[in-house]
């Protein structure tokens, strides 16, 4: 073994005690006759020690501990109320199959008060929770205009939300298609205050549940600790057999969503 071989292949692993027995023997043999490499090994250990001392473990903020505890509680609660379902959703990487969403839209969005258990809202919440685990974007680019262009291609009209006025920026976008070819677009917005998921579907004429606050035509509901907003645009799309329904889910308070909608839309 020569100097170069030791320094490039053995030095770090020697300092970390990660050499195999045979490598250990070869390294020891070299070090016995090489003062320079012994000095390097001493320095490598000193560097490792310096890094470890300089970057100690940080204490996680108390607010984060509280937030995690609350999220675990919510997860347990969700699994109690619909055993098996959330896990199924999450294993499928956030996204609700488009066909299931469309079917749920047909069944659930009827003109009556929001029931205590609304499967469509539960599904939307499960999708939102899934984004906390993972969100795989498939729309090129990161900007809202990139997302709007992708929606234009899939839905026949450009459509995109800008929530920057409440501190949320687009973090990822994904478009899927049901087996029938209908598109569903997911937009995930994140910021220091929290996150929000938009779910956009093509759907036949539907009526939105009554109740909730209406801001500029957008219905905002408080449901199981989440804010859910629903807006419907009839005959908005150049393709498809109806209009576009957009559902938004967030842990942000309804007032914050209302603030965003007041800002975004014309009176």
């Amino acid at each position: 073994m020569d100097h170069r071989q030791y320094r490039e292949l053995f030095l770090s692993a020697d300092a970390d005690a990660e050499l195999s027995a045979a490598q250990r023997r070869a390294a020891t043999e070299h070090l016995l006759s090489c003062e320079e490499c012994r000095r390097y090994l001493t320095q490598e250990r000193a560097l490792k020690d310096l890094i470890r001392r300089s970057v100690p473990l940080m204490a996680a903020p108390a607010a984060l501990r509280h937030r995690i505890g609350a999220s675990l509680e919510e997860l347990d609660e969700m699994q109690r109320s619909s055993p098996g379902f959330p896990r199924l959703m999450l294993r499928h990487c956030v996204l609700i199959p488009a066909v299931a969403l469309a079917a749920l839209l047909l069944i659930i969005l009827t003109p009556r008060a929001i029931p205590r258990h609304n499967p469509f809202f539960d599904a939307a919440i499960a999708a939102y929770r899934g984004t906390e685990a993972s969100f795989n974007s498939n729309v090129p680019g990161d900007s809202i205009s990139d997302f709007a262009l992708a929606i234009d291609e899939a839905f026949g009209t450009p459509y995109g939300w800008d929530f920057s006025n409440i501190g949320l920026n687009l973090s990822g976008a994904r478009i899927e298609h049901s087996t029938g070819g209908k598109p569903v677009a997911y937009g995930l917005y994140r910021g220091a205050r929290g996150s929000l998921l938009t779910i956009l579907t093509l759907s036949p004429a539907l009526r939105i549940p009554s109740g909730g606050e209406v801001v500029k035509g957008i219905h905002i509901y408080k449901y199981k600790g989440f804010s859910i907003a629903v807006v419907r645009y009839e005959n908005y799309s150049a393709i498809g057999d109806g209009g576009i329904t957009c559902v938004m889910v967030s842990r942000l308070p309804p007032e914050v969503l209302a603030q965003a909608f007041n800002f975004l839309l014309p009176s």
Partner: protein, 186 residues
């Protein structure tokens, strides 16, 4: 809560939650943002809880959680940063080539007594992302090469070579820092 679910929650609280500080430290140094570190830790632990039945008892729970955290980091944060921060492997290799040319005569010596802990933290923050990732796992989290290989999803030999190069970059960065501090003191 069902008995099984309750037991799972208890096990998770006993085995996983004690690693929150370690996760937070990794998340903070990866994202370099307290808010992002908060989100990344929450995402990691929620995902860990959902899939806790996949954790093998008796193995290193911190390494298992770090694997989730690193994956989440790559998915959620690295993509956005890649365009604005010089953190790709291509740049890492470029830096290494420069480093190798600059040090063909041998490894630079380093006077560790002349370097402050703040210098080290700054040098770490300035390193390309791949170098920072491996140093965080081995030198700060104390993982073995095999455990780090699982976290990074690369062969153990790759961990070894990356670590060697990353320490070389760190040494080079600190050598630049230490003389500057000596001059400032003088």
């Amino acid at each position: 809560m069902s008995g099984t679910r309750r037991e799972m929650r208890q096990r998770f609280e006993q085995e996983a939650l004690p690693h929150l500080d370690a996760l937070y430290t990794a998340a903070f140094h990866l994202t370099r943002s307290q808010d992002d570190a908060d989100d990344l830790c929450q995402e990691t632990l929620l995902r860990g809880y959902r899939f806790f039945d996949q954790f093998v008892p008796g193995t290193n729970c911190r390494a298992w959680l770090l694997a989730i955290l690193y994956n989440a980091f790559r998915r959620s944060y690295a993509r956005a940063k890649r365009e604005q921060v010089s953190g790709t492997w291509a740049e890492f290799q470029h830096l290494l080539e420069n480093h190798c040319h600059a040090n063909e005569g041998g490894l630079p010596s380093l006077d560790t007594d002349a370097i402050s802990e703040r210098d080290v933290r700054q040098a770490l923050a300035d390193l390309p992302e791949p170098a920072r990732e491996i140093l965080l796992l081995i030198d700060i989290q104390g993982l073995s090469y095999d455990e780090a290989a699982k976290v990074l999803q690369v062969p153990t030999g790759t961990v070894r070579s990356r670590l060697s190069r990353s320490r070389a970059l760190m040494r080079q960065a600190l050598r630049r820092t230490a003389p500057a501090r000596r001059i400032a003191r003088a």
